[in-house]
């Protein structure tokens, strides 16, 4: 039987879903196993008429004494969208399903360890495979940990309803990462990591059509111009999106976790730059307050800002005979800033002897995004809620 992506994720989902029962039996036989399973159900909706429903499951089994661990995860995205980008092309609302699965195995019997991982994602017009590995080294009596990793991925982009053999283009990415984690004192740990990604291939969207304007009109096209305004100002012809065929990215992320008497503080910040001249900065913070032995509760804040790619234009100048070499309508490549505020709560449901054997987690985040130089919309409000059930043995 041929192992297709759909079959692969189906088998992996079944394995992960049955993990708690199988592994409980396994622990009885082998002893000393750390077994965890979780299931999350999340819903997303935004003011641009996009809704996503995401159920997912994940499992972990490992033996801390022996130093090995295996993880698996599977999720489904059910997307329904009637965004302004779709409306502007006179297309109806569409619904699509994406399935994604990942697996990871790690072995670290002493100060030196290694891990390998793989993932697959499948939707009607996009299939992606990725794999990689990393090496970890503890130093200074495990006060310092270094990690070095590499990953490779290949994506195939097509069109819904058209076989990949008839129309598709490929997109490759190599990722290198290096980082260190350091204990600062008994209550504080920090990590710094650098990620370099080298992408090659055509990542342009086959559905994304870009309106063109005359040289006289283009400078006066206002940010946030409505579909009707764009239709009135644009030239009759439009062209498909065209992105550069290579992109080099680098990001540096610093994280800090500090334990206070009755709370845990986590901070994260990233600076980023790529060869398309997109620069970005983000800062993310969480405070988790203890609520007795069973609960924790706390706020979440995130701020993100980015500059546009070098070829970004709110109104591209051209005709059907002379078009810009690179053009995009992807507003996540334009200038934007966003602010996320939310909260997180966890309640342990296990018996007194093992309160964390079962736990329920609820989270909610609302994100306000300001698009600074885009057609159609200038802001978006999105909300995301999730419930997670965790079990451990």
């Amino acid at each position: 039987m041929q192992l297709t992506p759909a079959r692969f994720v189906g088998v992996l989902a079944a394995v992960v879903a049955m993990a708690p029962w199988r592994l409980t039996d396994a622990r009885a036989a082998a002893g000393g196993l750390d077994v965890r399973a979780s299931s999350e159900i999340a819903g997303y909706a935004d003011s641009d008429h996009v809704a996503v429903f995401t159920p997912s499951v994940a499992g972990h089994v490992g033996n801390p004494t022996a130093g090995w661990a295996v993880d698996g995860a599977y999720l489904v995205d059910v997307i329904s969208a009637a965004s302004v980008d779709i409306v502007s092309t006179a297309s109806p609302r569409w619904t699509e399903v994406r399935q994604a699965a990942s697996a990871r195995a790690a072995y670290k019997p002493g100060d030196l360890g290694a891990s390998a991982e793989g993932s697959v994602s499948s939707e009607p017009d996009y299939v992606a495979y990725a794999g990689g590995g990393s090496v970890t080294q503890d130093l200074d009596d495990r006060n310092l940990t270094l990690v070095l990793g590499y990953g490779y991925g290949r994506d195939t982009i097509g069109r819904t309803g058209t076989p990949f053999s008839v129309y598709s283009h490929a997109f490759d990415h190599h990722a290198l990462n290096a980082g260190l984690t350091r204990l600062l004192d008994r209550r504080t740990v920090v990590s710094i990591a650098a990620d370099v990604t080298i992408e090659s291939g055509d990542s342009s969207k086959p559905y994304r059509y870009i309106p063109l304007f005359s040289a006289q009109v283009a400078p006066s096209v206002p940010a946030g111009a409505t579909v009707q305004e764009v239709s009135r100002l644009r030239l009759p012809d439009s062209v498909i999106e065209r992105l550069p065929l290579s992109r080099d990215r680098i990001g540096v992320t610093a994280r800090l976790a500090r334990r206070l008497p009755h709370a845990t503080t986590r901070l994260e910040s990233t600076v980023y730059h790529d060869s398309w001249s997109l620069s970005a900065f983000s800062v993310d913070g969480r405070e988790l307050f203890d609520l007795g032995q069973r609960g924790s509760l706390g706020p979440h804040l995130r701020y993100y800002v980015q500059s546009p790619v070098s070829f970004w234009k709110v109104g591209y100048v051209g005709t059907i005979d002379t078009v810009p070499a690179f053009r995009t309508g992807d507003r996540e490549l334009g200038p934007l800033m966003s602010l996320t505020a939310g909260g997180w709560a966890r309640w342990a449901l296990g018996p007194p002897a093992a309160v964390d054997a079962w736990a329920l987690i609820a989270s909610f985040d609302a994100t306000y995004t300001r698009f600074l130089d885009d057609l159609y919309i200038t802001r978006r409000l999105s909300t995301l809620g999730a419930f997670t059930l965790e079990a451990s043995w």
């Binding site: 996009y126 130093l139 969207k205």
Partner: protein
């Protein structure tokens, strides 16, 4: 083995100066550090990670960032 130890010492010598404020934490002093919420890994759930990848140009790459973008 000797080469590995020399390499370890060299790496340690290169990294430690950037952490002058660090104090050595013995294994028996790591009760707070060992808490699950003291991880420096990304603790966002799969849905929040996905939403972040879709919404932020600096983190989006590959299939996870494509699905659910609502684009045409």
């Amino acid at each position: 083995m000797v080469r590995v130890r020399v390499a370890q010492q060299l790496i340690l010598a290169a990294v430690l100066p950037v952490c002058g404020a660090c104090s050595h934490v013995a294994a028996y002093q790591r009760g707070a550090i060992a808490r699950p919420d003291m991880t420096t890994s990304d603790t966002a759930g799969p849905a929040l990670q996905h939403a972040t990848q879709v919404h932020e140009g600096a983190t989006r790459s590959g299939a996870a960032a494509e699905a659910g973008c609502g684009c045409n």
